[in-house]
Every structure is written in C-alpha cells, then in structure tokens.
Symmetry: C2
Subunit: 352 residues, 2 copies
C-alpha cells in the first residue's frame, strides 16, 4: 500500500522530520546543560516517547494520569505528571504506578498534596513533588512566593513525599522574577529545589537566557505546526505532521471543500493578529482554510493562481498539532518518502 | 457506583431528557407530515439511533461512511449519507453496505456520482441519490438550478442509481427559492424529486413554514447545547449532556480551574454577538468558562456571589455538543437521577 492510496482524511507523520526535530532539541538541551523531559501530549505514542528517551531525554512529561498509565504500561520508567491530581480515585491509580516507575507530580494546592501523600502511603514508594507557580498563563499555579513556601513546608512535613522543586509554564521573564525571590527563601528555610522545570516549545531555544531552570518540558517540537512557524520556532520543512485530505467539492471557481473539518483539524485558532484560518497548504500557499464544520473544510482559492481540482489530494499543516493527535485513532508513518504503516495513538482521549 | 464517584471529566447524558427531546421532535414531524431522519453525528451511539427509529424516525443520517458502517453493523437498515463519497475505496465500502441496508447518498459533483454508480454496480443493489444544493452555507452543494439539472440527468442516465430528490442545509428562505425554480424544471424534464430533505436543529420547529420539504434531518436536538439555547430551540432543562468536571485549582479569589479543556469541550466558540466563553454552569450561572487549554478550563468567578470550592464537582453545558461526543470513548448514562452505566460512543472518530 502506498501513501496515495490511504483514505482521507489521514494524519501522516514524516519520521525523518521527527528525528531531526528530536535531535535538534536534545542538542540544544545538551549544549546548555538542561535536562530534557518531553511532553507526550503532542504525540501520545509510546514508541515516540521511547525514541525521545533513547536520544537523551531524562524522562517524559504527561498531563493526565491516564496518559501516564499508557506510558508506564509501554515501559517508560521516569514520569512527571505536570497537573494537579485530586482525590482518592486518583491517589489509588498513582499508587499503582509508583512501584513501576519513578513518579513526580505537580501540585498547587493542599488537596493535590494530600492526594500525592495518599498515593505514597498506599504504594510505599516515595513520590516526588514540584510546586507549580504562575508565570503569566493565569492557569494553575500559586500566585505568590508565600503560597509556594507554605506548600513546600507542608510537603517537607509529609511522609512519603520528596520536595523536588518548582515548575513554571510558560517559561518567561516572570519565571525568572519569581525564582529570584523564591530560591533564597527556600534555602533560608533549609529546603532545596533541585528541579527547576520550565516549559513551552515556542520560546524553547531561548530557555537558557530566560530563567535559571535546569529542566525543559516541550511537546509540540516533535511535530511542529502553523503556530510554531508563526512563533519563529520552526519552518514549514520542520512540520512533521500533515493532514492528507481530498477535495470533495468545487462548487464555485474560488471555493474548494475538503473532507476534513473540526473533527480532523480541531477548531483551534491562531493567536490574534497572526494569520487567520485553520491550516496551511504547502502545495497551495495562497489557499486559505477559512471555515470548518465538523467534516467539511471550506477553502478560499481566490488568491491562488493555480487551483486544486475536484478529487485532488492536498496536504495541510494544522494550526495546533496536539489536539489533532487527540482526534485520530492512528497515524500513518512515512520514512524516506515511503509509507511504513500505521501506529496507534495509544494515549488518545486519556482525559481522566 | 454512583454518579458522584465517577472520575472527571466525564460526559453524562440524562436519558429522561433525551427521551423528551426525541418525542418532541417526532411529534413535531408527525404533526406537519415530515419524515424524520435524525443525524447520528451528535450522539454516534447505535442504541440511541435505534431508539430514534423506534419512536418513528424513518431512518438515520450519517455524515461519513465509517459512521454508516458502525450503524449498519448495529442493525440499522435505512441510511442516508449526507456527504459526497469520492473514489474507488469509498465505492467498494458503499457496495458492501448496499445489500445490508437501504442506502442513499448525497452528491454535488460527477466524481461522487461515479462513486455511487460504481458501488451500485459492484453490489447489484440500487442506490438512492439526492442532489445537494447550496442554501446559504457556502459549503458543499451545487449553486445553480442548471448544475442541479445536469447532475439529475446524469443520475437518470446511470444504471443502478435512483434519483430520490434534493437536499439542502441549512433549511432557509433560500431553500424555498431554489425549490420554487427547481421542482417545475425537474418535472418539465420528466423527473421527480420524491424526497426533499432539509436539515438543522436551530430552526427545526419552523421547518414546515420555511420551505416545502418532506424530510427533516436534525442531530443536535437529542442532547441540545448552549448554541441551541441561544438559538431559542431549547431551554437549559432540555440539555441532556453535561460535562462533569472538578475544580482542580483556585489560584485567586476570582479564578477556578477545572479539569476539562479543549480535549473535553472542543474549542467551538459561540456565534459572534452571542455570549462568550466555552460553556454554561447551571449551578453557577454567572461563572464564565473564559479560556481553554487542552486539559485546563479557566473559569472567571468575578460575577459570582457564591463561588465553587477547590475540589468541588461542577456540571457544564458545552457550547456545541456534537464535537464533545467525538472526544470521549464513552458516556455515562443517567435515568431517574440514577447512574445506569457507561455506553461506548461507537462511531466516535469515524472521519473516513
């Protein structure tokens, strides 16, 4: 079977581009003395996580416990869950993983702390904890050094937990400001923060000059996407995942409709002030994927000198590749331009 | 196991509300002499499709061939695929279904016609064809009566195909205008269009006064969502699907973070000029789900007199429920307020 005979829409990943992306990030981290801990939310595929570790990553990052379960089952042994786990059901599942892999979790509140403590007690294995602080995302994370110190003291006072350090996302000037105040205060209280972990692909190659972290969490760099090109992190040739689609309708001279919509591309839009639309057509750069319904993508061809024909197959770079992985049960793999088969997106849909 | 012990995020469907929604739409169609052909894209669950048929639906509508395969495997026998199928791989799959169920497909171009013809030839079973015309969506669909007539003549001239009629989405004043010109011209050429099929939940209860159709395709009405409430089709009590989530962080007085983001809610936004945000909290109507990342939902509580606590479980009505079904492998069912178990979303992810 060759690539052109695969039914569309189908996500196709070029393993040569993946390999180059992985090696570039590992080399950057090696150069600057950063531990690399890739976020598997982008690919959700154990074999790719294993390749990241083979190339030098210290371990992996998962967002949800269900993702970590898939990765531990596949043999990954050093896992950071960068997300507050809350409640006894989660504690029980974390306890089941702790004897099988080195587990670290992020917390920003007392219930998440109690959950990690319960897991440590049930498993008998020590669990590492990092405290998340807000550095501009206005998402999770404590918003003051005092709140961080209070949690750090509580971790120190809790049997089975090990204070590993601090976590920030995104890595920003605010990360540096927080650490400048926080680290001396931790030290003054006799606590250390050996792990200072920061994340985000868009500015990853500036991590060493942004804040004094020693671990980098990045996900999107493995595939890249239209947002990463817009952010200056990657070029189109560094985009490893393309949606292959078919033109299923050409109702007017200037409109093509493709057989992928929000169920294939997700509905993520570009940051305000950047380009509009839902994807980039490398073979028709002037085509604009202007609207999506669930299974239709409406393409404005008015700026195209050459226009795709009815039935033609097109390649599209999505805006944001991580939710695309989450929409497809499997992806097609290519190496050296040749179709290699499908791989299951094993941690797809693990929201719990 | 009771509902409160299910791990979040989890989609929960109230079967009592489903039943009322199904009966209301069936009664409307019965009253106005419309055949009801529900679109299964909203629920993607065979048992719910079967219930729709038991209550009087003539058959079902699927968007993709893969959805139709799931439904035929589950015993559904009258299927309309409201989407152009293109190419030999699709023809072969359609041919495999044709002896097992009454199959009808929509076309708007010659390749889709040839695909249906090939399927009919391979299967030996006649396949019904409706021609889609554009009534304002600027999506698929021929844009002129002449283009429709040309396709209709081609269908008539093709062995194995049966011209069933015309299809429009959304059902609008433009649908009526097109039909007023198209139907006499078909008749003048000795062709009939026994099936006039229109779709869309938001204005479904006005179908009888919008255009002279005789078949209604609606999907969202089974669950309803924030968009259907905004459109005036439903009230909050008619919303059958809620995402149950947990407050996993309370970093500031006015911000809660929930454990569902775009991987649980999808990123569909409300139509311009309506409300902002990504969902509605029935128990905290002033809370605003203002931002989503993949696994986090950021909730602005500044307008709330009473605010949810860390660890509290919340119910959310999503903006658009159809892509929510597509993000979850299974949903929890409730009847009479009691948890009934899970059901697999069997046609989830069937984009091909």
């Amino acid at each position: 079977m060759d690539l052109a005979s695969l039914e569309t829409p189908v996500p196709v990943v070029d393993l040569d581009v993946v390999e180059a992306n992985l090696k570039r990030m590992q080399a950057y981290c090696d150069q600057h003395g950063l531990a690399l801990r890739p976020h598997i939310k982008t690919h959700k595929i154990p074999a790719l996580a294993q390749r990241q570790v083979e190339l030098g990553a210290q371990g992996i990052t998962c967002q949800k416990l269900g993702e970590a379960e898939v990765m531990v089952d596949a043999g990954l042994t050093d896992i950071f869950i960068s997300y507050p786990l809350m409640g006894e059901a989660k504690a029980k599942r974390l306890a089941a993983l702790a004897p099988r892999a080195k587990m670290r979790v992020a917390i920003d509140n007392p219930i998440a702390l109690a959950t990690a403590a319960s897991a440590a007690k049930q498993s008998g294995a020590e669990i590492g904890v990092v405290i998340e602080f807000d550095s501009g995302a206005a998402r999770t994370g404590v918003t003051s050094v005092d709140a961080m110190l209070e949690l750090a003291e509580a971790v120190r006072a809790t049997a089975g937990l090990r204070l590993d350090g601090l976590m920030t996302y995104p890595l920003s000037a605010a990360s540096a400001d927080f650490l400048a105040v926080a680290l001396p205060q931790l030290e003054a209280r006799g606590m250390a923060a050996p792990v200072l972990t920061g994340g985000g692909t868009p500015n990853a190659f500036h991590a060493h000059e942004t804040a004094p972290i020693n671990e980098l969490r990045v996900g999107t760099y493995i595939y890249n996407d239209r947002m990463m090109v817009a952010a200056g992190h990657a070029g189109w040739a560094d985009c490893a995942l393309h949606l292959h689609v078919t033109v299923i309708s050409r109702p007017t001279e200037d409109r093509a409709v493709i057989d992928g919509g929000s169920k294939s591309f997700a509905a993520d839009i570009m940051p305000a002030g950047v380009q509009e639309g839902y994807g980039y057509f490398p073979d028709y750069p002037e085509a604009r994927l202007e609207r999506l319904s669930e299974e239709h993508g409406m393409v404005d061809l008015s700026a195209c000198a050459r226009k795709p024909a009815l039935g033609e197959r097109l390649r599209v770079v999505p805006n944001h590749v991580c939710p695309v992985s989450n929409l497809h049960d499997r992806i097609a793999l290519v190496r050296g331009g040749e179709f290699q088969g499908f791989v299951e997106v094993a941690a797809r849909g693990r929201t719990v």
